[in-house]
């Protein structure tokens, strides 16, 4: 069916349809050792799995080219075994052309990571875009890559595209890595690019990398974002872009989910257990499963001592359901309420201690504020235990 359609289109003399996948920021071999070893291994494996997943997406959409806009590797200093693994994985997807652009994490430098790659042998279906020179993608499109050759090139590396000569009938597709205005990593101010490069250089599409969320800068200029999130995001990672060009017209950009793990960052203001329950639906990712979801939950507001103790139980519960649940409760305070204390069975000197600690914990100028909050929790916990064991 699909083949027939393709044949139909191929039969048309004009315009030709060119499809490709735009991806970036794979950050292969990122170690994630901040997490427990098991999870770190899974997360690293998920990064390598990007290749297989993108290949599947490409085939499903009839794309033959996968353009990767930089930061394929997490670092220039990367173990050879990791590179071998990545190259082997790319070679596996031998029916697809992988066009890899050096980014700021893996710049094209002497003896850098790409030298290692070429030393190990570039698979025939892989092209390392080491030249800022036009490269024909079949007969219908020409790729204008802007490889990053240094962590601080001190110039707009896409500028050459303006004057690059290409056949009139071929679509011009730019590929670059860096920052446009507010997009791109903060430390890459040196990789600033003109926001209207696509217009200036007559590009049908400018495929960008560096910003980890998928983002449309303009109709013809996009950040694909990383296909596999690598941190708790404040943007929208986890996509690949399937781009269609008809002749020399951009026909469409499709955001295709590509992530294995879902990373979520939530910030909530809570004042009761009910507020906590209200968070629960948000913890369920739309497309993913709880077991592959990592959540960082920043809590603000205040809880009663009893509710705060219940929060620990809630965290235990949800930590078991989610792959990771990190709760940042530094801004969560415990309300000092005698009734609250009494309901926990605090009386006499224990009540006095609780009031003292509570006062400390709610005094912003007290250096032991955080210790006091925890001490109060422990006091409540120990009291409950002692009472339950008392005759």
């Amino acid at each position: 069916m699909t083949a027939l359609k393709l044949t139909d289109e191929a039969a048309k003399p004009w315009p030709m349809t060119f499809r490709f996948i735009h991806s970036s920021d794979w950050h292969l071999a990122k170690p994630f050792r901040r997490f427990a070893p098991g999870l770190a291994g899974e997360l690293a494996a998920a990064r390598l799995g990007i290749i297989e997943r993108l290949a599947k997406i490409a085939r499903e959409r009839g794309a033959r080219h996968i353009l990767v806009a930089g930061d394929i590797f997490d670092s220039e200093l990367i173990a050879t075994s990791e590179i071998r693994r990545a190259l082997a994985q790319l070679a596996e997807e031998s029916d697809l052309a992988w066009l890899l652009l050096p980014g700021n994490h893996d710049p094209l430098r002497l003896s850098g990571v790409w030298d290692q790659v070429s030393r190990l042998g570039v698979p025939p279906n892989v092209t390392v875009l080491s030249q800022a020179a036009p490269l024909a993608l079949g007969s219908d499109a020409v790729l204008l890559p802007a490889p990053v050759t240094s962590k601080d090139p001190g110039r707009d590396i896409t500028e050459w595209m303006d004057t690059a000569a290409t056949p009139a009938s071929a679509a011009r597709i730019g590929l670059a890595h860096g920052s446009i205005r507010g997009f791109g990593s903060d430390d890459d101010a040196s990789l600033l690019m003109a926001p209207d490069r696509a217009k200036r250089a007559g590009l049908q599409y400018l495929a960008l990398g560096d910003w980890h969320g998928a983002a449309r800068i303009s109709a013809d200029t996009w950040y694909s974002g990383t296909p596999e999130p690598d941190q708790f995001p404040d943007n929208e990672p986890g996509f690949a872009l399937a781009v269609t060009v008809e002749g020399t017209q951009l026909a469409g950009v499709e955001k295709v989910p590509a992530a294995n793990f879902t990373w979520m960052r939530l910030e909530r203001n809570i004042h009761s257990l009910a507020d906590l329950s209200a968070i629960e639906p948000d913890l369920r990712p739309a497309g993913g499963t709880l077991a592959k979801t990592l959540v960082r939950l920043s809590l603000d507001g205040h809880l009663s001592l009893a509710d705060r103790a219940a929060l620990d139980l809630w965290q235990e519960d949800w930590s078991a359901r989610l792959r990771v649940l990190e709760i940042d409760d530094k801004r969560l305070t415990i309300t000092s309420c005698s009734g609250d204390f009494e309901s926990l069975g605090l009386s006499g000197p224990l009540l006095e201690a609780a009031k003292h600690l509570s006062a400390m914990s709610s005094d912003p100028s007290n250096g032991e504020r955080e210790a006091a909050a925890t001490a109060l929790l422990r006091l409540a916990g120990f009291t409950a235990q002692a009472r339950s064991e008392a005759p």
Partner: protein, 752 residues
């Protein structure tokens, strides 16, 4: 609680059963000599209430009498509104029976009996509790009470004493209850913190989670730093490779295309040109010198010839002059020759003339003067000496003369000196003759002529000398020589005239020399100065060096680059730098873990501190009622004074007047009195709380003087709130002042 009776059998000193049956309220005094068994009574009381009936070992042996047997103790007592009997059989067949004396039946046996007993006495479990506070053994009376302190082990040991005090005092003061829950919380806090921190709480407990987390973090930090250093070195190496590659390319490009003005070849070409230029200049100098020499030679030759011609001319004119002079000399010489004779004789003539004159003069002296004046017609007619006079005449007559006057006669005249005169006449005539002869010789007619001719000769002689000098100047070697010279000179001039330079030749040569000099000057101006030459040489040397160093740098860079690339490749293979992110992550994880534990430890420390502070504050409040009660006794015994307590109810210090005194520095007597009074206060507090127990003291106040003893006894007697005070003493007399019941030991026949 009150003791009603104590009975014992086979107990230490008492082989035989004995009893004290007459205990009453208030002060009970058992007096008796040493070894009477007072302390045994005390121990029997302790055994009944505090020793488990199943006790064995040293404690049991300690109770057994020397004679052997199984100790039996029976105590009747009043407690909690009832009257009870505890009977404990120790050793073989041990048992404990608690009986209700009112209903008359056993209410509990053995372990249960002991538990009930504890409950009745207000103790908890088998801890001595309140009894320990107020039952003072013989050897302890000196020591101040130190609740929950085990004197045997020297350590604090929970004996329920402090707890009892706190419990009873808490009824009196407004403070929270340190109940089991509090103890449980404190204990849990302590246990939780013990896992993390050392007992001093100043450091992490070895091998505890915090300690391990800190250690792990440190290890990972060290590893991270190491990896970071490696990664930085790798990064640096990458930069080095780039820099070296760029530099190498630069150098190789330089080596390939000599940049103008920098290469050795160019400099050497410049040097060669300069050398050629200098050579040309040197040749020009030689040409110039040659031309100038030629010119000088020609000019010289011309001048010399001109000079010879002038010389010839001069000589010729000299010759002419000389010849003339020679002629003149000849003439003069000839002219002068005759006159020369006159000159030669002139002096002789003069002499002769003088001689004649002298003779004449002398003659005339002798002469007579004769004057003949002639008259006109006389002329010729007078003759003198034969000679006619033609004119008048005067003359001298020295010799006879005759004057004849023709016609008249002759007159002779003579003088007296005619002989001399004749001599003189002859002399004069000889001189005249010689003069005449000389004159004849020279052909002169007169002396005057001779004289004239002599003067002419002298004049011509001078002229001749001048001419001769002139001639000698003109032709010093003679005219002939001069003539020869002239001839030679003329000949040589004639000879040199063959091929001689002309004025034109000299002019041509001069012009050539000037041209040569101009050429030389021009070349000199173009030629490089020595300084510049040296500079150029230095430049060449520098350029050579630069080239050589470039070569060596290229070589070195190539090697270094190969080496660095190799090192980088090796590092890549090793992958150590690639572990940076991993190590960073692991470090962060360990750091977070350590922070978590540190936070936990801080929180627990804070909790422990908070609980401790609250407890300490409460404890401080607790000691106040004791201080207050003790103060009343102290005031009466010691005067105004204050006793302070630590929060474990141990005595802190006694303040009498200004300075506080610690107990250890007090005298034995004072210490003993204080101890007893504090125990009395304890007993009062217990009693006032409704949990009164007897104050039992074995052999107290042994070191007290009579006054203090009396005062303390007064306090005991006045302590009516205490249900019972039992004093065991061997000093009957001393305690006579103590009012109260006197106990008696009686025989006992225990029921079997």
């Amino acid at each position: 609680m009150k003791i009603l009776a104590v009975r014992l059998a086979a107990f230490r000193r008492f082989d035989e059963p004995a009893a004290i049956e007459d205990f009453g309220d208030g002060v009970n005094l058992l007096c008796g000599p040493n070894e009477m068994g007072k302390s045994t009574m005390f121990q029997a009381l302790e055994a009944a209430f505090l020793v488990r009936h199943k006790v064995s070992g040293g404690v049991l042996d300690g109770m057994r009498p020397y004679a052997g047997g199984e100790p039996l103790v029976e105590v009747d007592f009043e407690a909690q509104g009832g009257r009870w009997r505890i009977r404990k059989q120790f050793g073989r067949g041990s048992s404990a029976v608690l009986s209700d004396l009112i209903s008359g039946g056993a209410v509990a046996r053995n372990a249960e009996a002991e538990e009930r007993l504890s409950a009745l006495t207000g103790a908890s479990g088998d801890l001595p509790g309140s009894l320990g506070l107020v039952w003072v053994r013989q050897q302890r009376t000196l020591s101040p009470p130190d609740p929950d302190f085990d004197h045997v082990s020297g350590k604090t040991k929970a004996r329920g004493e402090g707890a009892i005090l706190r419990d009873v005092i808490s009824r009196e003061i407004e403070t929270a209850a340190f109940d089991a829950t509090f103890e449980g919380v404190r204990d849990r806090t302590k246990r939780a913190l013990d896992l993390l921190a050392t007992p001093s709480r100043n450091a992490a407990k070895k091998d505890g989670p915090l300690y391990n987390a800190v250690k792990l973090r440190e290890e990972l930090k060290a590893r991270l730093d190491e990896t970071r250093a490696i990664a930085q070195a790798a990064e640096q190496r990458l930069n080095q490779i780039a820099a070296m590659t760029a530099r190498l390319g630069e150098l190789e490009a330089q080596a390939q295309s000599q940049v103008t003005g920098e290469g050795v070849a160019e400099l050497e070409a410049r040097r060669a040109a300069a050398v050629a230029n200098r050579t040309e200049r040197d040749l020009a100098r030689q040409a110039m010198l040659r031309h100038e020499a030629e010119h000088a030679a020609a000019a010289g030759a011309l001048a010399a010839r001109n000079k010879s011609a002038e010389e010839l001319a001069a000589k010729q004119s000299a010759f002419a002059a000389a010849s003339e002079i020679a002629q003149r000399i000849e003439t003069l010489t000839a002219e002068i020759a005759p006159d020369l004779a006159a000159a030669r004789v002139i002096d002789r003539l003069g002499e002769l003339e003088r001689q004649r004159a002298l003779a004449e003069a002398e003659l005339s002296g002798h002469a007579a003067h004769v004057e003949i004046a002639l008259e006109e017609g006389g002329r010729g007619r007078v003759e003198v000496g034969g000679e006619a006079l033609n004119e008048s005449r005067s003359f001298q007559v020295v010799e006879p003369v005759e004057i004849r006057i023709a016609g008249v006669g002759t007159i002779g005249i003579s003088t007296a000196h005619a002989v001399r005169g004749a001599e003189l006449r002859r002399a004069s005539e000889a001189a005249g003759a010689e003069i005449a002869q000389v004159l004849a010789e020279i052909g002169a007619s007169s002396i005057e002529e001779a004289r004239g001719r002599s003067a002419t000769a002298a004049k011509k002689q001078v002229e001749l000398s001048g001419a001769r000098a002139k001639l000698s100047g003109l032709a010093p070697r003679g005219l002939d020589t001069l003539a020869d010279d002239i001839a030679q000179l003329a000949a040589s001039i004639a000879a040199s005239d063959v091929g001689a330079v002309s004025e034109m030749d000299v002019e041509r040569l001069r012009s050539a020399a000037v041209d040569a000099r101009l050429t030389f000057n021009a070349l000199s101006a173009r030629a490089m100065s020595d300084d510049d030459f040296r500079k150029l040489d230095a430049e060449i040397a520098a350029a050579r060096n630069a080239e050589a160093s470039r070569k060596s740098e290229i070589e070195r860079l190539r090697q270094e680059l190969a080496h660095t690339k190799g090192a980088q490749q090796a590092l890549d293979e090793e992958g150590r730098a690639s572990e940076l992110a991993a190590h960073q992550g692991e470090f962060e994880r360990a750091d977070a873990e350590m922070q978590r534990w540190r936070h936990e430890a801080e929180a627990l420390r804070l909790l422990e501190r908070t609980l401790g502070e609250i407890e300490a504050r409460a404890k401080a409040a607790y000691s106040a009622p004791i201080s207050r009660r003790v103060a009343r006794h102290l005031e009466r015994v010691f005067g105004v004074s204050e006793l302070t307590f630590r929060d474990d109810f141990a005595i802190d210090a006694l303040r009498r007047g200004e300075r506080p005194e610690t107990v250890s520095v007090l005298s034995d007597g004072t210490r003993e009195q204080l101890s007893l009074l504090v125990r009395l206060a304890f007993a009062e507090i217990l009693a006032e709380s409704g949990r009164g127990v007897p104050l039992v003291v074995d052999d107290p106040l042994a070191y007290s003087d009579d006054v203090r003893l009396a005062a303390v006894c007064g306090e005991l007697a006045a302590a009516t709130s205490v249900p019972q005070i039992i004093v065991l003493t061997c000093r009957e007399k001393a305690f006579e002042i103590l009012t109260g019941r006197r106990l008696k030991v009686t025989n006992w026949r225990p029921e079997r």
